[in-house]
Symmetry: C2
Subunit: 189 residues, 2 copies
DNA sequence: ATTGTATGTTAGTGATTACTTACATTTAAT
DNA sequence: ATTAAATGTAAGTAATCACTAACATACAAT
């Protein structure tokens, strides 16, 4: 039987919440308190705050962002493909808006290791999906520019003031938005 | 004659550089050193680091961002108007990318007072110009959505990885980009 | 020469914070 | 019951940092 007194999960959960809320400057003290754990337990398990941060964020990124984009890229119809990509990313990003904002903020200040550079992750994953999709088509597409355009749409929902986060919209509202965004992207190809 | 030994300008310049580079966490010590000034001089002039930060950033924002957008909004032709707006904002933002990044970063972490919330400033100034322009036209336009779209374009140039900042592009390259972006925005109206 | 003002020097305060040391206690398995 | 591993307690270290106190100096105007 596995040790029942292992506090690792509690720590990871509390650290995730704290880091998402306050960024890297969240203190080990408050994380420990929130996890209902002695502060030194953090250090015995993770050595440094930096290491705890990286561990936590990588884990959250994996569970929340794991692409699914490449599956969408299999879609033959470009319009349907774009619509699904936009919908999927807007959903994921807006559901995780606090973490996304924090990672972008830290990234902009150059505080993050390469594997946590969310802007790059977002951009590259989009570009890869676009490349994969358009590779098989006749029309040559500037996927760089297109990925930038899509990334811009996503960033606008995370960063600009926004009363109604995407994932809270009704289905018809989402569809109306997707129509317009898809049209605007298509008009660039 | 005005005192020639006044160090205010040195301090403002050094503080601007330091804050842009490191954000609000730049230390008063390094600012003083860079300004070649005793640390206490900062405090005698500005009382607190917070106050120095606000003073400096407001000043830089005024000199660098002062709209010009409303003048562009006088333009009758919508396509020309959009093209000029996009060009103007991409120029200004990409020339000041380090400061823009820093202010967005601090803004995302909730560290700024209202008057320095750059995402809101960007969004609202665009929206105001759009409202002003489309008010006189027959076609009703969702300026909120349109401002978001434009803001997204700008953010994509500031935040996503980018080898070639806009203000370094050749004129023809800029024009090609503006054509495509304008078309994509028009296709949403 | 005198004076007032802006600045400098030096030292320090008090708070925060990542991380440590040393020792005590709980808990699971044998 | 014994043991070993995981956790806790309490105290502390060393560094950083915004900000201050007290006193000294450079300088500009009269």
């Amino acid at each position: 039987m596995i040790a029942v007194r292992d506090k690792t999960e509690q720590i990871l959960a509390a650290a995730a919440a704290a880091f998402i809320k306050k960024g890297f400057q969240a203190t080990t003290q408050e994380i420990a308190k929130e996890a209902d754990v002695a502060e030194i337990t953090l250090f015995r398990k993770f050595s440094t705050k930096q290491n705890l941060f990286i561990t936590v964020m990588k884990k959250v990124l994996e569970t929340q962002f794991d692409a699914k984009l490449m599956k969408l890229a299999e879609e033959e119809n470009t319009e349907v493909f774009l619509k699904e990509v936009i919908n999927n990313r807007l959903d994921v990003l807006s559901e995780n808006a606090p973490m996304v904002r924090m990672l972008i903020s830290e990234s902009l200040m150059g505080n993050l290791t390469e594997e946590l550079q969310l802007p790059e992750i977002i951009f590259n994953s989009i570009k890869k999906a676009l490349d994969h999709h358009f590779q098989r088509k006749e029309i040559p597409v500037d996927t760089e520019l297109c990925a930038r355009q899509l990334g811009g749409i996503f960033l606008s929902y995370i960063i600009l003031p926004n009363d109604r986060p995407y994932h809270n919209l009704k289905t018809e509202e989402k569809n109306a938005l997707l129509e317009r965004y898809t049209k605007s992207v298509l008009s660039m190809l």
